[in-house]
Amino acid sequence: MWSIDWNLQRKFAFCEAYNFKSMKDPVLFLKKTTDWFGADVCIDAVGCEAEGSPLQTITGRKLMMQAGSATALHWAINSVKKGGIVSVVGVYGPTDNLVPIGNVVNKGLTIRANQTSVKRLLPKLIGHIEAGHISPKEIITHHIPLEEISDAYRIFSDKLDNCIKTVLIPPSARK
Protein backbone atom coordinates (compact mmCIF):
# COMPACT_ATOMS: atom_id res chain seq x y z
CA MET A 1 0.00 0.00 0.00
CA TRP A 2 1.33 3.41 -0.92
CA SER A 3 -0.08 6.57 0.41
CA ILE A 4 0.68 9.96 -1.06
CA ASP A 5 0.23 11.88 2.13
CA TRP A 6 2.26 13.24 4.96
CA ASN A 7 4.41 11.61 7.59
CA LEU A 8 1.48 11.06 9.92
CA GLN A 9 0.29 8.11 7.85
CA ARG A 10 3.60 6.36 8.36
CA LYS A 11 2.86 6.32 12.08
CA PHE A 12 -0.84 5.45 12.02
CA ALA A 13 -1.44 3.43 8.86
CA PHE A 14 1.90 1.60 8.96
CA CYS A 15 2.27 2.03 5.23
CA GLU A 16 4.89 3.60 3.03
CA ALA A 17 3.97 7.26 2.97
CA TYR A 18 5.18 9.84 0.50
CA ASN A 19 4.65 13.56 0.34
CA PHE A 20 3.36 14.61 -3.09
CA LYS A 21 5.06 17.97 -2.60
CA SER A 22 8.45 16.23 -2.80
CA MET A 23 7.73 14.72 -6.24
CA LYS A 24 7.28 16.30 -9.63
CA ASP A 25 4.46 14.08 -10.83
CA PRO A 26 2.68 11.74 -8.39
CA VAL A 27 1.05 9.79 -11.24
CA LEU A 28 4.42 8.98 -12.80
CA PHE A 29 5.74 8.08 -9.34
CA LEU A 30 2.93 5.56 -8.78
CA LYS A 31 3.39 4.07 -12.26
CA LYS A 32 7.14 3.66 -11.64
CA THR A 33 6.66 1.99 -8.25
CA THR A 34 4.14 -0.51 -9.68
CA ASP A 35 6.26 -1.73 -12.61
CA TRP A 36 4.43 0.73 -14.86
CA PHE A 37 1.06 -1.03 -14.38
CA GLY A 38 -0.55 1.44 -11.99
CA ALA A 39 -1.98 0.67 -8.55
CA ASP A 40 -4.72 -1.97 -8.08
CA VAL A 41 -6.83 0.48 -6.10
CA CYS A 42 -6.59 4.23 -5.64
CA ILE A 43 -8.49 5.93 -2.84
CA ASP A 44 -9.17 9.66 -3.00
CA ALA A 45 -9.44 10.56 0.67
CA VAL A 46 -8.74 14.26 0.13
CA GLY A 47 -11.71 15.81 -1.65
CA CYS A 48 -12.45 19.38 -2.62
CA GLU A 49 -9.58 21.14 -0.81
CA ALA A 50 -6.76 19.32 -2.60
CA GLU A 51 -3.50 21.09 -3.42
CA GLY A 52 -1.04 20.15 -6.13
CA SER A 53 -2.44 21.50 -9.40
CA PRO A 54 -2.54 25.25 -10.09
CA LEU A 55 -5.38 24.88 -12.64
CA GLN A 56 -7.56 22.91 -10.19
CA THR A 57 -6.65 25.19 -7.25
CA ILE A 58 -7.49 28.40 -9.11
CA THR A 59 -10.75 27.19 -10.72
CA GLY A 60 -11.84 25.02 -7.77
CA ARG A 61 -10.73 26.80 -4.60
CA LYS A 62 -10.12 30.44 -5.51
CA LEU A 63 -12.67 31.23 -8.24
CA MET A 64 -15.10 28.47 -7.15
CA MET A 65 -15.97 27.65 -10.75
CA GLN A 66 -15.90 23.96 -9.78
CA ALA A 67 -17.25 22.19 -6.71
CA GLY A 68 -13.74 22.24 -5.20
CA SER A 69 -10.40 21.21 -6.66
CA ALA A 70 -10.45 17.63 -7.99
CA THR A 71 -6.66 17.15 -8.01
CA ALA A 72 -6.63 13.98 -5.88
CA LEU A 73 -9.42 12.36 -7.91
CA HIS A 74 -7.63 13.28 -11.14
CA TRP A 75 -4.43 11.62 -9.87
CA ALA A 76 -6.36 8.58 -8.59
CA ILE A 77 -8.02 7.95 -11.98
CA ASN A 78 -4.78 8.43 -13.90
CA SER A 79 -2.55 6.33 -11.62
CA VAL A 80 -4.77 3.28 -11.08
CA LYS A 81 -4.18 0.25 -13.31
CA LYS A 82 -6.43 -0.60 -16.26
CA GLY A 83 -9.55 -2.31 -14.94
CA GLY A 84 -8.68 -1.06 -11.44
CA ILE A 85 -10.85 0.45 -8.75
CA VAL A 86 -11.05 4.11 -7.75
CA SER A 87 -12.69 4.66 -4.40
CA VAL A 88 -13.77 8.19 -3.51
CA VAL A 89 -14.26 9.09 0.15
CA GLY A 90 -13.05 12.69 -0.23
CA VAL A 91 -15.94 15.15 -0.17
CA TYR A 92 -17.00 17.24 -3.17
CA GLY A 93 -19.89 19.65 -3.75
CA PRO A 94 -23.01 19.03 -5.84
CA THR A 95 -21.98 20.95 -8.98
CA ASP A 96 -19.33 19.96 -11.53
CA ASN A 97 -15.65 19.05 -11.33
CA LEU A 98 -12.90 18.72 -13.93
CA VAL A 99 -12.28 14.97 -13.96
CA PRO A 100 -10.75 12.84 -16.77
CA ILE A 101 -13.90 10.78 -17.30
CA GLY A 102 -12.63 9.59 -20.71
CA ASN A 103 -9.81 7.75 -18.94
CA VAL A 104 -12.34 6.09 -16.63
CA VAL A 105 -14.13 4.69 -19.70
CA ASN A 106 -11.05 3.76 -21.69
CA LYS A 107 -9.28 2.10 -18.75
CA GLY A 108 -12.47 0.25 -17.76
CA LEU A 109 -12.38 1.48 -14.18
CA THR A 110 -14.80 0.77 -11.38
CA ILE A 111 -15.64 3.84 -9.33
CA ARG A 112 -16.94 3.37 -5.81
CA ALA A 113 -17.86 6.21 -3.50
CA ASN A 114 -19.63 7.02 -0.27
CA GLN A 115 -19.60 9.05 2.86
CA THR A 116 -19.02 6.94 5.96
CA SER A 117 -21.99 4.85 7.08
CA VAL A 118 -21.36 5.99 10.63
CA LYS A 119 -24.25 4.22 12.36
CA ARG A 120 -23.42 0.91 10.73
CA LEU A 121 -19.66 1.07 11.28
CA LEU A 122 -19.44 2.64 14.73
CA PRO A 123 -19.68 -0.60 16.77
CA LYS A 124 -16.87 -2.17 14.75
CA LEU A 125 -14.68 0.93 15.07
CA ILE A 126 -15.20 1.09 18.83
CA GLY A 127 -14.16 -2.57 18.85
CA HIS A 128 -10.90 -1.60 17.12
CA ILE A 129 -10.23 1.04 19.81
CA GLU A 130 -11.00 -1.41 22.61
CA ALA A 131 -8.68 -3.99 21.07
CA GLY A 132 -5.92 -1.37 20.85
CA HIS A 133 -5.70 -1.47 17.03
CA ILE A 134 -6.18 2.27 16.72
CA SER A 135 -5.68 5.07 19.21
CA PRO A 136 -7.69 8.17 18.30
CA LYS A 137 -6.28 9.97 21.36
CA GLU A 138 -2.99 10.41 19.54
CA ILE A 139 -4.48 12.48 16.72
CA ILE A 140 -6.28 14.93 19.03
CA THR A 141 -3.92 17.89 19.09
CA HIS A 142 -6.14 20.65 20.50
CA HIS A 143 -8.67 21.04 23.33
CA ILE A 144 -10.46 24.39 22.99
CA PRO A 145 -13.34 25.92 25.00
CA LEU A 146 -16.57 26.23 22.97
CA GLU A 147 -16.59 30.01 23.51
CA GLU A 148 -13.42 30.31 21.42
CA ILE A 149 -15.05 28.57 18.46
CA SER A 150 -14.02 31.27 15.95
CA ASP A 151 -10.34 30.82 16.74
CA ALA A 152 -10.75 27.04 16.89
CA TYR A 153 -12.29 26.99 13.41
CA ARG A 154 -9.49 29.16 12.02
CA ILE A 155 -6.84 26.91 13.61
CA PHE A 156 -8.50 23.78 12.17
CA SER A 157 -9.30 25.04 8.67
CA ASP A 158 -5.93 26.76 8.12
CA LYS A 159 -4.07 23.83 9.77
CA LEU A 160 -2.34 26.23 12.17
CA ASP A 161 -0.16 25.06 15.07
CA ASN A 162 0.13 21.55 13.48
CA CYS A 163 -3.58 20.97 14.13
CA ILE A 164 -5.02 17.55 13.25
CA LYS A 165 -8.15 17.02 15.35
CA THR A 166 -9.79 19.43 17.77
CA VAL A 167 -12.04 18.65 20.71
CA LEU A 168 -14.43 21.45 21.71
CA ILE A 169 -15.27 21.62 25.40
CA PRO A 170 -18.68 23.12 26.30
CA PRO A 171 -18.96 25.08 29.59
CA SER A 172 -21.10 22.31 31.13
CA ALA A 173 -18.26 19.82 30.69
CA ARG A 174 -15.83 22.01 32.60
CA LYS A 175 -17.81 22.24 35.83
Binding site: R10, F14, C15, E16, T33, M64, G93, P94, T95, S117, R120, L121, P123, K124, G127, H128, A131, G132, H133, I134, S150, D151, A152, Y153, R154, I155, D158, L160, D161
Partner: protein, 170 residues
Protein backbone atom coordinates in the same frame (compact mmCIF):
# COMPACT_ATOMS: atom_id res chain seq x y z
CA UNK B 1 12.52 2.51 -2.68
CA UNK B 2 12.17 2.27 1.03
CA UNK B 3 10.06 -0.53 2.45
CA UNK B 4 9.15 0.29 6.02
CA UNK B 5 7.17 -2.74 7.11
CA UNK B 6 7.78 -5.95 5.23
CA UNK B 7 6.20 -8.16 7.85
CA UNK B 8 2.56 -7.07 7.70
CA UNK B 9 1.71 -9.22 10.70
CA UNK B 10 3.53 -6.68 12.86
CA UNK B 11 0.84 -4.12 12.13
CA UNK B 12 -1.53 -3.80 15.11
CA UNK B 13 -4.94 -5.16 14.11
CA UNK B 14 -3.66 -6.67 10.85
CA UNK B 15 -6.36 -8.84 9.26
CA UNK B 16 -8.99 -7.87 11.84
CA UNK B 17 -11.23 -6.50 9.08
CA UNK B 18 -11.24 -9.87 7.33
CA UNK B 19 -13.58 -11.52 9.85
CA UNK B 20 -16.69 -12.47 7.81
CA UNK B 21 -18.77 -12.53 11.02
CA UNK B 22 -18.04 -8.85 11.60
CA UNK B 23 -18.48 -7.24 8.20
CA UNK B 24 -20.89 -4.30 8.54
CA UNK B 25 -19.86 -2.77 5.20
CA UNK B 26 -21.78 -5.41 3.22
CA UNK B 27 -25.27 -5.49 4.74
CA UNK B 28 -26.70 -7.22 1.64
CA UNK B 29 -24.61 -10.32 2.45
CA UNK B 30 -26.80 -11.07 5.42
CA UNK B 31 -30.05 -9.56 4.28
CA UNK B 32 -32.79 -10.27 6.78
CA UNK B 33 -35.33 -7.73 5.63
CA UNK B 34 -35.14 -5.93 8.96
CA UNK B 35 -33.64 -2.81 7.49
CA UNK B 36 -36.72 -1.71 5.62
CA UNK B 37 -39.01 -4.77 5.60
CA UNK B 38 -39.61 -3.66 2.02
CA UNK B 39 -43.31 -3.81 1.09
CA UNK B 40 -44.49 -4.28 4.68
CA UNK B 41 -42.45 -1.35 5.93
CA UNK B 42 -44.60 1.17 7.72
CA UNK B 43 -43.31 4.71 7.53
CA UNK B 44 -42.77 6.24 10.99
CA UNK B 45 -44.71 9.43 11.77
CA UNK B 46 -43.37 12.37 9.78
CA UNK B 47 -42.29 15.74 11.05
CA UNK B 48 -45.03 18.31 10.53
CA UNK B 49 -44.04 21.63 8.98
CA UNK B 50 -44.50 24.61 11.32
CA UNK B 51 -42.88 27.13 8.99
CA UNK B 52 -42.18 27.54 5.27
CA UNK B 53 -40.09 24.58 4.02
CA UNK B 54 -38.56 24.67 0.55
CA UNK B 55 -39.17 21.38 -1.24
CA UNK B 56 -37.20 19.88 -4.11
CA UNK B 57 -39.27 19.51 -7.30
CA UNK B 58 -37.64 16.09 -7.67
CA UNK B 59 -39.79 14.68 -4.86
CA UNK B 60 -43.54 14.58 -4.42
CA UNK B 61 -43.41 15.08 -0.65
CA UNK B 62 -41.36 16.91 1.94
CA UNK B 63 -38.32 15.00 3.21
CA UNK B 64 -38.88 12.96 6.38
CA UNK B 65 -37.11 15.51 8.58
CA UNK B 66 -36.14 19.13 8.03
CA UNK B 67 -34.83 22.16 9.90
CA UNK B 68 -37.23 24.85 11.09
CA UNK B 69 -35.20 27.51 12.98
CA UNK B 70 -34.21 29.59 9.92
CA UNK B 71 -37.09 29.76 7.43
CA UNK B 72 -36.41 31.62 4.16
CA UNK B 73 -36.80 35.38 4.61
CA UNK B 74 -35.96 38.67 2.95
CA UNK B 75 -34.13 38.96 -0.36
CA UNK B 76 -32.15 35.75 0.24
CA UNK B 77 -35.44 33.95 0.87
CA UNK B 78 -36.80 35.19 -2.46
CA UNK B 79 -33.66 33.92 -4.24
CA UNK B 80 -33.96 30.56 -2.45
CA UNK B 81 -37.62 30.18 -3.47
CA UNK B 82 -36.58 30.92 -7.05
CA UNK B 83 -33.73 28.37 -6.82
CA UNK B 84 -36.19 25.66 -5.79
CA UNK B 85 -38.07 26.10 -9.07
CA UNK B 86 -35.13 24.25 -10.71
CA UNK B 87 -34.24 20.59 -10.21
CA UNK B 88 -30.91 19.67 -8.61
CA UNK B 89 -29.30 18.94 -11.97
CA UNK B 90 -29.55 22.57 -13.06
CA UNK B 91 -27.19 25.47 -12.34
CA UNK B 92 -30.29 27.58 -11.64
CA UNK B 93 -30.67 25.59 -8.42
CA UNK B 94 -27.13 25.58 -7.00
CA UNK B 95 -25.83 28.94 -8.24
CA UNK B 96 -28.89 30.73 -6.90
CA UNK B 97 -28.49 28.95 -3.55
CA UNK B 98 -24.83 30.01 -3.42
CA UNK B 99 -25.89 33.59 -4.21
CA UNK B 100 -28.62 33.45 -1.55
CA UNK B 101 -26.07 32.36 1.08
CA UNK B 102 -23.89 35.38 0.31
CA UNK B 103 -26.86 37.77 0.28
CA UNK B 104 -27.88 36.24 3.62
CA UNK B 105 -24.46 37.15 5.07
CA UNK B 106 -25.05 40.83 4.21
CA UNK B 107 -28.61 40.61 5.60
CA UNK B 108 -27.16 39.19 8.82
CA UNK B 109 -24.71 42.09 9.17
CA UNK B 110 -27.51 44.63 8.54
CA UNK B 111 -29.70 42.82 11.09
CA UNK B 112 -26.85 42.95 13.62
CA UNK B 113 -26.40 46.70 13.06
CA UNK B 114 -30.18 47.33 13.38
CA UNK B 115 -30.08 45.54 16.74
CA UNK B 116 -27.23 47.80 17.86
CA UNK B 117 -24.55 45.10 17.57
CA UNK B 118 -21.46 46.03 15.58
CA UNK B 119 -19.98 42.74 14.31
CA UNK B 120 -16.36 42.18 15.25
CA UNK B 121 -15.17 40.60 12.00
CA UNK B 122 -11.62 40.23 13.31
CA UNK B 123 -12.76 38.08 16.25
CA UNK B 124 -15.59 36.23 14.44
CA UNK B 125 -13.29 35.04 11.69
CA UNK B 126 -10.67 33.86 14.17
CA UNK B 127 -7.91 36.23 13.05
CA UNK B 128 -6.51 36.24 16.59
CA UNK B 129 -5.49 32.62 16.12
CA UNK B 130 -4.10 33.32 12.65
CA UNK B 131 -2.03 36.21 14.09
CA UNK B 132 -0.75 33.98 16.89
CA UNK B 133 0.35 31.09 14.67
CA UNK B 134 0.80 32.51 11.17
CA UNK B 135 1.76 36.20 11.28
CA UNK B 136 3.26 36.00 7.80
CA UNK B 137 -0.10 35.11 6.22
CA UNK B 138 -1.90 37.95 8.01
CA UNK B 139 0.68 40.48 6.82
CA UNK B 140 0.48 39.02 3.27
CA UNK B 141 -3.33 39.31 3.25
CA UNK B 142 -3.30 42.88 4.59
CA UNK B 143 -0.73 43.91 1.94
CA UNK B 144 -2.78 42.20 -0.80
CA UNK B 145 -6.01 43.93 0.24
CA UNK B 146 -4.23 47.28 0.58
CA UNK B 147 -2.67 46.98 -2.90
CA UNK B 148 -5.99 45.92 -4.43
CA UNK B 149 -7.85 48.80 -2.76
CA UNK B 150 -5.16 51.24 -3.88
CA UNK B 151 -5.42 49.92 -7.46
CA UNK B 152 -9.24 50.22 -7.49
CA UNK B 153 -9.14 53.74 -5.99
CA UNK B 154 -6.46 54.75 -8.51
CA UNK B 155 -8.49 53.41 -11.45
CA UNK B 156 -11.70 55.15 -10.34
CA UNK B 157 -10.07 58.51 -9.63
CA UNK B 158 -8.26 58.35 -12.97
CA UNK B 159 -11.55 57.78 -14.82
CA UNK B 160 -13.26 60.56 -12.91
CA UNK B 161 -10.61 63.06 -13.94
CA UNK B 162 -11.09 62.10 -17.56
CA UNK B 163 -14.88 62.29 -17.21
CA UNK B 164 -14.80 65.70 -15.52
CA UNK B 165 -12.58 66.95 -18.28
CA UNK B 166 -15.12 65.81 -20.85
CA UNK B 167 -18.06 67.27 -18.97
CA UNK B 168 -16.47 70.67 -18.74
CA UNK B 169 -15.35 70.53 -22.32
CA UNK B 170 -11.60 70.73 -21.78
Amino acid sequence: MENTNLNYKNIPGWNSDADPENEPTYPMKKYTGDDHARLNWKRPPLQTPTTEILKSIERPNLSATFGTPVPPSGLSGMIRRFAFKFDESEYGHWLNLLLADRVNVVEGVIDDLLHGHVPNCFAEEGWKAEWKYNKKNVVKKVVKVALLTAAVVFLFTKNKEKKSKNIFGF
